[in-house]
Amino acid sequence: MSSTDLRRWFNASREFTIPLLALVVLIAVWEAAVRAFGVPEYLLPAPSRIFEDTAAMSGVVANHTLATLRTILFGFLLSIIVSLPLAVLISSSRIFADAIYPLLVLTQSVPKVAIAPILVVVLGPNELPRTIVTFLVAFFPLVISMTAGLMAVPPELIELSRACRATKLQELTRVRLPYSIPFVFSGLKAAIALSVVGAVVGEFVAAEKGLGYLITSATAFFKVPVAFGAMLILAILGIVLFQLIVVIERIFFPWAAAEEPRT
């Protein structure tokens, strides 16, 4: 490999190599600093220690990860199922918009951490309250961006569909819904990131499994490296799920990826 090849390869992969390099440097500095200054493990464990302790109980951690993933996905799906009809209602009628908007804002102004324990009492200590909390955290930006998408249809497109004698239903399915797809995806990206937050909040309050539970139980026993490990897994989970949505959009709606409103 000649030097120009090497440079070309470096340029082509710069998008990945530079952030990766930065990450490696950060971990190295972290490791070195913890060792050099003898920072106690319960304050800041070294990366190697986090990895060791987490790997030592990898089977258990995997189960917790799966439990959290379940909650995230259920909550996320519930957000989609609720948001779409809500957005259609809000965008189709002034009266619905006036009736629903204040309620939506109300659900958002109540701190979800405050709702969670109440939900556990009402719904029982099972998966349902966690899913609901996840949903409550995640669905709001989805409704807002879906509604914005349905309302952003240029009046000329509506006029066109009317000139073609489209029914209200055809106008919705053939024009408004497809038009809102770029907006929907920008909402989905926000919602999946928030779903991770919601699931952990739910698990903090009441759970016998999940990464949120693992963090509370590990810190209770001063097993700080494991708590750090769980936190890092949550971060990775969030990034992977987010990227998954980016990829789905690029594969199935390439035109939408190009049209998406900048946020």
Binding site: P154, E156, E159, L160, A163, W255
Partner: protein, 259 residues
């Protein structure tokens, strides 16, 4: 045959100072005739086109097509707007098929017709492209194909070339006449370009603003097929001059600088 009798349009409630856009419009448009509507902004020419299309209902008078009162958009009209208004997610072919799809007649025959129209418009090779991959002129060609796909007998065009550059605009005007020659239809064409209005029209309807009224209807006695070379023809200049004087007054435009 489009028959507009005593049509008027007031936007907003009359008692609360509604805006009168059109007043006492009487106009009969023959089959396969090209009529251009020209006038300054605010003369109601786009409103008149929307009345004929059935997108809005007149507050006074009636519009009839072949004796039938127009109340909603009809299957025998096609409309082209100033913006191409193509669906960004659909291919050019799917966009052209849109009216057929909505009317539940997106069959093989309709697709065949859509492909033929794309060929006539010279954009056949872009059938499977997305609109954003096309230039403005090509997008507007696709929009014209879309307006023609269900084979309407009336084509309504609302400043269709208004957003294009001057050169593309002339090409498109000639192309439109070529398409018309191949399959003549009634065309009602709104424009604010005087040469465009004259070169296309059998009759030019000159409108005056506030409220929108018909100032005069001018017959254009130029032979077809036409090109912009006719711009030097005395008949062309007579028509253009007459329109100019109707719009700007007998003295023409005055560039008085007030001190």
């Amino acid at each position: 045959m489009i028959d507009i009798s005593n049509a008027g349009q007031v936007f907003g409630p009359a008692h609360a100072g509604g805006v009168r856009a059109l007043d006492g419009i009487n106009l009969a448009i023959r089959d396969r005739e090209i009529v251009t509507l020209v006038g300054p902004s605010g003369c109601g020419k786009s409103t008149l086109l929307r009345l004929i299309s059935g997108l809005i209902a007149p507050t006074e008078g009636t519009i009839r097509i072949d004796g039938e009162k127009v109340v909603t958009p009809r299957q025998d009209t096609g409309i082209v707007f100033q913006a191409p208004t193509l669906l960004p997610w659909a291919t050019v072919l799917e966009n052209v098929m849109f009216p057929s799809t909505i009317m539940g007649r997106a069959d093989a025959a309709a697709q065949q017709r859509a492909r033929e129209l794309l060929k006539v418009a010279g954009i056949a090779e872009f059938a499977n492209h997305r609109p954003r991959q096309l230039s403005g002129g090509m997008q507007q060609r696709a929009a014209i194909c879309r307006a023609l796909v269900h084979n309407p007998s009336i084509l309504l065009m609302d400043e269709p070339f208004g957003a294009l550059d001057a050169l593309t605009r002339e090409v498109m005007t000639i192309e439109l006449m070529r398409i018309w020659t191949a399959a003549p239809k009634t065309i009602v064409f709104v424009t604010h370009s005087i040469p465009e209005a004259v070169i296309l029209a059998d009759r030019v309807v000159v409108m005056s603003p506030r409220p929108g009224r018909i100032a005069e209807i001018i017959d254009v006695n130029l032979p077809r097929p036409r090109t912009f070379a006719l711009a030097g023809d005395p008949e062309f200049q007579r028509c253009a001059e007459r329109i100019r004087s109707l719009i700007f007054g007998e003295q023409g435009v005055r560039f008085d600088v007030q001190h």
